[in-house]
Amino acid sequence: MLKLVDRFAVRPSGFPPPWVLFTTLATLATLLFTTPSLANDLGRAATPAEIAAWDIDIRPDGQGLPEGGGTPADGEPIYNDRCATCHGVFGEGEGRWPVLVGGDGTLEDDRPVKTIGSYWPYASTVWDYIHRAMPFGDAQSLGDDEVYALTAYVLYMNDIIDDEDFELTRENFADIEMPNEGGFIADERPDTMTLAKGEPCMSDCTPEPVKITMRAAVLDVTPETEATTDEGETVTIAATAPAFDADLAAKGKKVFKKCGACHQVGEKAKNRTGPLLNGVMGRAAGEVEKFRYSKAMKKAAAEGLIWNAETLGWYLEAPRTFMKGTKMSFKGLPDEDDRAAVIEYLKQFE
């Protein structure tokens, strides 16, 4: 709730002027909310088109939903094309990407599976999130009907919609009930000790000496230290020019982290949002099997584009400048050293 004192706290005096005390509450409210009490007079009015461009949020009551609609049947091919590489064809989640489907009745289990179906309280959150942030790396590229269709398909996979031809629309959206809507409760803290419940113990707090019950070293999941702390080695690094060529591929491995969300390399590499990159060096563009390339990439391939250090360097510098219409939404590697390093790294994978 708005607190009246908060409105006054910004006055230079920090206190309401005395006359306020003699006004009725109604008058006070009118004064507070209709007169600009602090004249910073900064900013400018937002235009309706500007608000429309940014005001994309959706609420559980459906506020914010645009016109349009889509069925699970409409959503399936879009899902398979845009979502399945990370979330799995059945919503099971590839690798550590989020699982979307299943987990019903597991919330009390030792290993609960929290999915859209088992955990999310409102369907509006699905629509809002797909529209604002998905697909990962190509946000806000889906049309409103596509978002309705994908939302319907994800709900269909979770048995929340049971007819694949049911059209989810703005009008019927608020009727969707999520299974776990009642599963959320308010903050109940303090549920642990406070001084109101007593002073913490200071001596002989356990009857017997304390014993170790679990050791992190047993599990051993702590990442290894990469940077050496050895003094002599650090001096060597500081005293000589960086041995750049020898480390180039290793440096490229780090640069490749920027690519790894969409591209895989190595033995188990598969197509993800982007094609697998094994053997990319020296290969003709647009040749990875089963990957659905953009029209722009197909055209470049038809014109004979071959990936080598030079062409890949141009592409990676600014993908959408080099190839207008490419699906690769990556902004590019403006640093020439980064490009050289990542290209060196890719040469290893044949």
């Binding site: 903050d187 002989d204 990442p223």
Partner: protein
């Protein structure tokens, strides 16, 4: 495991005096001269870099291991991921900008400040747009606040897992923010009487959103454009982020482009699917915003073992609370059986990190180090078992329990649990 200070008997000073009087401590064995003194070092003779060699200074190459680190298996990829502040390498209460942990949902947005705008819309009299220059014309304030990810220590719910306070507690940092109180900006737009919530939104490709109650927005929330005296770092939301003091870090939306005012919460992904705390009952708590009282010993710790052997030893650590200042920190050397009140040193700001120290003479026997903080609201940091008793092990978020470090005879330190 003994605490030489708290145990009864002759004081350390009297022991020392006895030793000197007896002459035993003075029989220093003849030792070789220290070449660090007797030999001319390169920096004593030749000239170093001139003033323009480092226009933006960086740490000594000998401090190369004071860096943020990640735990690759935690997340699906490094774009939507987290890394950790090297708490074991830091002193005082302020985190250097380059070491503040990062958590992104769509990578680091590289925003051009000339093209950055802050829009206020929704239940306001007049929706407004501000440029960065506009925002810098409001009255400015400076405040020191910690920012802790609600998932800090989240990997430790089921038991000791990661060896290093960087990994167990490093999703926290503390800097001085410069910015504008949010209430000034909301005032400019004129908040309608039925407005009860705000929703900050980021300009990055995740367009992060959270619902924040109006009471908090008008209390101490800020929009900040500087940290530790310089512009925000890109990975901390350059050019603008919202500061939500004492509340979970996820709410401190970076690259802040819009604040919508509304009468209901939005229940967006980061406050339903994430940042809700699943209990053993299968019910989940939501809107658990405050970060509870918490502390950790940063040295000794697994990445900062005791290298000097027995004798005078300094325990150094951090304590904080999202509800106020730290009133007291207790330290135990025996796994929580006996406690001594530590010395809180340095500035004490509300909702900021506090530094504590405890000096003691180590007898070279194994130790089980713990720290327990108490905040100005009287909240006491719980043991791991006490917390698990009420929350179960699947909450992910808000694990503020007491950490145990096992110091072995050789000074090596390990993350353990005690019973």
């Amino acid at each position: 495991m003994t605490d030489p200070i708290s145990k009864s008997g002759p004081s350390r000073r009297s022991l020392l005096t006895t030793a000197i009087a007896g002459g035993a401590a003075l029989t220093v064995p003849a030792r070789a001269n220290d070449p660090a003194i007797t030999e001319l070092q390169p920096w004593m003779q030749s000239l170093g870099d001139g003033v323009d060699a480092r226009p933006y200074g960086t740490p000594s190459p000998y401090e190369a291991d004071a860096v943020r680190r990640d735990v690759p298996w935690l997340t699906a990829d490094p774009i939507s991921s987290i890394n950790f502040t090297p708490l074991h390498k830091l002193e005082g209460i302020i985190t250097p900008n380059g070491l503040c942990f990062e958590r992104h949902h769509a990578g680091v947005a590289e925003v051009d400040p000339a093209k950055h705008r802050l829009m206020i819309n929704g239940l306001v009299d007049k929706p407004l747009v501000f440029t960065m220059e506009d925002l810098k014309r409001f009255p400015r304030e400076n405040h020191v606040y910690f920012l802790e990810c609600a998932a800090n220590s989240g990997m430790e719910w089921r038991g000791a897992q990661l060896n290093g306070c960087q990994f167990t507690h490093g999703m926290v940092h503390c800097v001085v923010y410069t910015g504008v109180k949010l209430k000034h900006i909301l005032e400019e737009a004129g908040v309608k009487t039925n407005a009860k919530w705000i929703m900050p939104e980021g300009a990055d490709a995740s367009a992060m959103t959270r619902s924040i109650p109006m009471e908090k927005a008008l209390d101490d929330c800020m929009v900040a454009f500087a940290m530790n005296g310089e512009a925000l770092r890109p990975e901390q939301g350059y050019p603008l982020r919202i500061v939500v003091p004492g509340w979970e870090g996820n709410m401190w939306v970076k690259w802040l482009r819009r604040i919508e005012v509304g009468d209901e919460p939005w229940h967006h992904r980061e406050e339903t699917s994430k940042y809700t705390d699943l209990l053993a009952s299968g019910k989940a708590r939501r809107f658990t915003w405050e970060m509870d009282v918490k502390s950790v010993i940063t040295s000794p710790s697994p990445q900062a073992p005791i290298a000097h052997g027995k004798g005078r030893t300094v325990i150094s650590g951090l304590a904080w609370s999202g509800r106020g200042t730290i009133d007291r920190v207790d330290v135990s050397l025996d796994g929580g059986r006996n406690w001594t009140t530590a010395r809180v040193d340095g500035p004490s700001h509300t909702k900021a990190l506090h530094r504590f120290y405890h000096e003691f003479d180590w007898d070279g026997e194994p130790l089980l180090l713990q720290s327990r903080a108490i905040d100005s609201e009287g909240w006491v940091q719980p043991t791991k078992n006490a917390l698990r008793d009420v929350r179960g092990t699947e909450s992910i978020y808000h694990n503020n329990s007491i950490q145990t470090w096992y110091v072995q005879k050789d000074g090596e330190v390990e993350n353990v649990e005690v019973g």
